[in-house]
């Protein structure tokens, strides 16, 4: 329901252009608190661009983005800081700070928010590492971690300050099926243990089936479909069927 207080995120008529190309052409989407929404779409279709708008990393050409009732579309960098503290983000390649160890990366948000008690920091980092199954890796530099470990360390950094919402940008891209399954279980576990709202951008249907409460499909800059997993699998819409079944019509 537009405007309902049950929604943590409300997006209205969001438009974005990069150069002359219109990436988002009027996206409308509500995300209720505690829900895990999977945003599907083709590569280069604007999913990551949409996600970046939700944390203010990109500003829309027009449209409205409300986070927890607060309009953020036109806030400047400093005004966005309180909003960003409510949201964690997992970047596609982890985006760990390569000059810091895993421990310092994960402790970074705590230190930046004024936590000076090293004992408290150590305990919280240990708990976050346990949640992402990365115990014993805190002394390593990011360059010495595998792709899956980097993503899990990045997830630990995103959750350590207990955000009410986590944005995942292609969390399983480039990972083997076993590590992908670990990440999927983690997302599920975080939702059940921390009750966070999650928005997961992916084109991985296995992952979608595992974690989604609701699925939205972004196509040609608009939300083409929004519904439950059952509705996604039952639909007869050929565009969605092609996507779900991984079928291309371009070459036969």
């Amino acid at each position: 329901m537009p405007g309902s207080t049950d929604n943590l995120i409300e997006v209205r008529d969001l438009r974005q252009k990069i150069g002359t190309q219109e990436i988002l052409r009027g996206v409308n989407l509500d995300i209720p608190r505690g829900e895990t929404l999977v945003l599907l779409g083709q590569s280069g279709g604007g999913k990551s661009v949409f996600l970046r708008h939700l944390i203010g990393l990109m500003r829309p050409v027009s449209g409205s983005i409300r986070i927890d009732g607060e309009e953020i579309a036109h806030l400047d960098e400093r005004e966005l800081e309180p909003v960003r503290r409510k949201i964690g983000m997992l970047f596609q390649d982890g985006a760990l700070f390569d000059s810091m160890t895993v421990f310092d990366n994960i402790a970074f948000p705590l230190r930046e928010r004024g936590e000076r008690n090293e004992k408290v920091i150590r305990e919280k980092v240990a708990h976050a590492l346990e949640l992402v199954c990365l115990q014993g890796q805190e002394g390593k530099m990011p360059v010495n971690l595998s792709g899956g470990m980097r993503k899990r360390a990045s997830l630990a950094r995103a959750i350590i300050s207990e955000p009410s919402c986590i944005l995942y940008d292609e969390p399983t891209a480039g990972l083997d099926p076993i590590v992908s399954d670990t990440i999927n279980r983690l997302i599920r576990r975080l939702q059940s243990q921390l009750h966070v709202t999650s928005i997961v951008v992916t084109h991985d249907m296995v992952s979608t089936n595992h974690i989604a409460d609701r699925v939205a499909l972004l196509r040609e800059g608009k939300i083409h479909f929004s519904g439950s997993l059952a509705q996604l699998h039952d639909t007869t819409d050929p565009v969605i069927r092609d996507f779900v079944e991984g079928r291309s019509r371009e070459i036969d």
Partner: protein
């Protein structure tokens, strides 16, 4: 004809100046608002100031030595060999010391800043900072700027000291200039205002190197190729800016601290 947009280079130059001005404005706003992370500042002082000493000292020593020799060869023909001291000293304080230090630091530190921040930009680490509610200007630019503003005047002073020491050694040991006359004349014609001019220039060049280096880094695009281009541009732009601004700075500072004078 729509001037200046008719000329792409003019447009690019105006755009660059505008971006640099915005970055400088945000940086000074952060500094005056007290958003300074002193821990990172100290780390940067070690990286920038302490780490640049060898380059600056070697530059100072050999510039002082060769400048002394050349001045001596010219002045000795006129029986003015004892004037070598003041000429070298004033030239080093007012021009060569700050400019050469600025150029060496632009090459070493400006390039490193641009490469480090540029790599962070293309690997989404800058976005990660923003997503964690940390302003990249506060975290990356301000500590580097404060460290440079502290380090550069000290490096300029150090460069001049070693250049004058080398000058004294070359003049008295190799060129047989009378050491008492050398020191006496140098002391007589070199004033505190010459040193103030050197340190002021060092301070201004520090700001130029930081703004250009960080601006290039934050504007990096297109992966590894972009990082390489930003780094090269940072060194070229900051070096040329130092040389050009030095002229205007000399003219302006000469009004406040006029050259000449001396005597008893």
């Amino acid at each position: 004809m729509k001037f200046p947009y008719t000329f792409p280079l003019t447009r690019a130059f105006c755009l660059y100046l505008g971006q640099a001005a915005f970055l400088a404005w945000e940086m000074f706003c952060s500094i005056f608002a007290g958003r300074i992370r002193w821990g990172i500042v100290l780390h940067q002082i070690v990286e920038i100031g302490f780490g640049s000493q060898a380059v600056v000292i070697i530059t100072g020593i050999f510039t002082g030595a060769v400048f002394t020799a050349q001045i001596f060869f010219q002045f000795n023909a006129l029986n003015m060999s004892t004037a070598v001291g003041p000429v070298v000293s004033i030239a080093l304080c007012r021009e060569l010391g700050p400019v050469l230090t600025g150029l060496m630091v632009a090459g070493r530190v400006g390039a490193a800043m641009s490469a480090e921040i540029g790599t962070m930009k293309v690997t989404e680490q800058i976005d990660a900072l923003r997503a964690l509610a940390v302003n990249p200007i506060d975290y990356l630019v301000v500590p580097r700027a404060v460290a440079m503003m502290i380090s550069m005047p000290l490096l300029v002073g150090e460069c001049i000291f070693f250049a004058l020491t080398a000058s004294y050694i070359v003049a008295t040991s190799m060129l047989n200039v009378n050491s008492v006359f050398f020191l006496h004349h140098m002391w007589r014609y070199t004033h505190g205002k010459d040193m103030v001019m050197a340190l002021t220039k060092g301070f201004v060049f520090a700001i130029i190197v930081v703004i250009v280096g960080c601006q290039q880094g934050l504007g990096t695009k297109n992966g590894a190729v972009g990082v390489g281009r930003s780094t090269t541009d940072a060194v070229v732009i900051s070096s040329l800016s130092i040389l050009m601004i030095n002229f205007f700075l000399t003219m302006a500072l000469n009004m406040v601290f006029p050259a000449g004078g001396g005597g008893y």
